[in-house]
Amino acid sequence: MAYNLKEVMEKPERLSGGHRMCAGCGAPPAVRGILRALKPEDHAVIGSATGCLEVSTFIYPYTAWKDSFIHTAFENAGATVSGAEAAYVAMKRKGKIDDTYKFIAFGGDGGTYDIGLQSLSGAMERGHDMVYVCYDNEAYMNTGIQRSSSTPKYSDTTTSPQGSVLPGKQQYKKDLTAVMAAHNIPYVAQTTLTSNFKDLYEKSEKAIYKKGPAFLNVLAPCPRGWRYETPDLMNICKLAMDTCIWPIFEVEEGVWKLNYKPKKKLHVSEYLEPQGRFKHLFKKGNEHLIEEIQKDVDKKWEDLLRKCGETI
């Protein structure tokens, strides 16, 4: 069925408003976009790692989640949801449940790239029929913007502060999507918020309804940590795509496919400049740092084009 934005938007929300995430945060629209891909008649068990999303949506005695929800700790959303899925399989086998349930785990980049990587890897390798979604805001936001292995090089964070000697984080961002693709699971995809939410919707639908484990990596900007103007959320996402800093692609049954190729590839400075976390790169004398970032992006983009069988 062709994607129809109006129809999709008319589905009842499964994450209700009134939660306490910041205005302009990328995570809630990402979560809502993903949950819209659930068929209305299907139930879901949603899990979340500790992080901004969890502490802002389920503060006792209120929950913003319309589906059954579980949070246990920071590093184990993969394992926790895999346990719920295992119970479902057993209870179905024993005839205790008729209805269809889908299992979706959310984790921030800290809970996914770092402390929860083992738990995620285990859950995917074991083949549970579940989706793990990383809402990637490129730092530990909940504890006050500390660097993670997802934080891009030269970002100014509270544990990789830019100073008189060091210009922010010293390491490149980990390529987690490729790590997950190397698990050879049925579906892995990378996306962000696009103007009509089509890419996110279609990838979520595949991830949820393809049998077996799936992993989605969704760039979900954080206006507090990235220090951009709150209304600029969608623009920042677009610049991430158009500079090829955050390519949009999927790996379905081992086949890599590019889903978006900018008509004109923009220079990385267009993405970096509106964000306070990169402000120091625009000081005189730091031009070479920006060029270093550009070179890295170019190389990774070419690698990706090759993997996807695109012309370079």
Partner: protein, 393 residues
């Protein structure tokens, strides 16, 4: 008719698991509990159970998966030892505070470091404040019986807490002993169906588990959890009565061995109670009034009952197979002494640390303890209260 079998302690637990036929078992290998998931996965491979076996990549994930599964509405179990239990630490507290009656077979082993695979109680003693009910087992029969009862205790509506069933690594886990098994149908009837009040996979209501719980509610939730632990005592006794009806085997909060008229006694946990009982018998033959109290239920701590059972004793040695590094004694000692304080102050109470890291505990060691107690009674002098037995110094 009961089934006579010869099984190791690990196999006895695995057989109990098979007979219970839980929804989910999630486990990770560690000596000396490894055989439990090994036996169990064979039952899965042979179609002897309908359980979903989750071969997780760590014990942290084992407990996380158990929590997810139990919250989903499944009856869930695991097994571990030492470092495995330590890796679960964070999740042990989350299981109990989320009020999820997971059942865990803890095959006691010394907690690293240095690395040591042999028995002591430092693993489960370290978890004593995690909100889990703890049952201890002297032998394979008790391990089997406790494990079946644990399911009923944890799931009881007045309790709803996870239960840890402990036995001594290698000493009972790997020793083959005669035991009586229940028939499958009897186990099935005894544990019944798991029907939680609220669960994730309930199509009639959605629930949310594991909130951010701020100061306006957290304290009340802790209070309720503490109440559940207090309630567990009566439930443990009731379940034991029912179990006795089915099996003829009697269980209590602790076992008293020649204690009612004893002048000197020890308090002990798990397999060493067997050795100590033979020492008591020998002493009794010599006319020495020795007795023994063997803990079965350590959490909740059976304070009043223990005081009633011990109050006539003149000198008492509390035996700890774990260091607590408090500088003044082991964990069991602290609890027993606190229980007696102000209500049985006449008793002279000393502590012995014994058998750490699998050091053999011989009848001689236990005899020495009773001799010391006799001396204390004779001289009226208690001396040092924090002592070691069987160590080279």
């Amino acid at each position: 008719m009961a089934i006579r079998e010869r099984l190791s302690g690990n196999e006895a637990i695995a057989v109990a698991m098979k007979q219970i036929n839980p929804d989910v078992v999630a486990a990770f290998p560690i000596t000396p509990s490894t055989e439990i998931p090994q036996y169990f996965s064979q039952f899965v491979s042979n179609g002897a159970v309908q359980t979903e076996f989750v071969p997780v990549e760590s014990e942290h994930s084992a407990m996380s998966a158990c929590i997810g599964a139990q919250a989903a509405g499944g009856r869930t179990m695991t097994a571990t030892s030492a470092n495995g239990l330590a890796l679960m630490w964070e999740m042990l507290y989350i299981a109990s505070s989320s009020r999820l009656p997971v059942t865990l077979a803890c095959v006691n082993r010394a907690l690293s470091g240095p690395l040591n695979i042999h028995n002591d109680h430092s693993d489960s003693m370290g978890a004593r404040d995690s909100g889990w009910i703890q049952l201890y087992s002297e032998n394979n029969q008790e391990a089997y019986d406790n494990f079946i009862q644990a399911v009923r205790i944890g799931e009881h509506k007045d309790v709803v807490l996870p239960v840890m069933v402990c036995q001594d690594g290698f000493i009972t886990s790997h020793a083959v002993e005669n035991l009586d098994l229940l028939e499958d149908e009897k186990v099935k009837a005894f544990v019944g169906e798991y029907n939680p009040e609220h669960y994730l996979l309930n199509t009639k209501e959605q629930i949310a588990v594991g909130p951010l719980d701020l100061p306006n509610y957290f304290f009340e939730h802790r209070r309720q959890q503490a109440q559940a632990m207090m309630n567990a005592k009566q439930v443990i006794l009731d379940v034991a009565k029912e179990f006795e009806k089915v099996t003829g085997r009697k269980y209590d909060l602790f076992e008293e061995y020649k204690l009612s008229d004893a002048e000197i006694a020890i308090v002990i946990i798990n397999s060493t109670a067997g050795t100590a009982k033979t020492v008591v018998d020998e002493l009794r033959e010599k006319g020495i009034k020795a007795g023994l109290l063997k803990i079965r239920v350590f959490r909740p701590f059976p304070q009043e009952e223990m005081v009633a059972a011990l109050k006539h004793v003149k000198a008492l040695a509390v035996m700890d197979k774990a260091e607590a590094f408090s500088g003044v004694g082991g964990p069991l000692f602290a609890d027993v002494k606190a229980a007696l304080y102000g209500v049985a102050d006449g008793i002279k109470v000393i502590n012995y640390i014994y058998g750490l890291g699998g050091r053999d505990v011989k009848a001689d060691n236990i005899e020495l303890v009773y001799n010391e107690l006799q001396n204390i009674v004779k001289t009226g002098q208690i001396g040092e209260t924090y002592r070691y037995v069987g160590v080279r110094e």
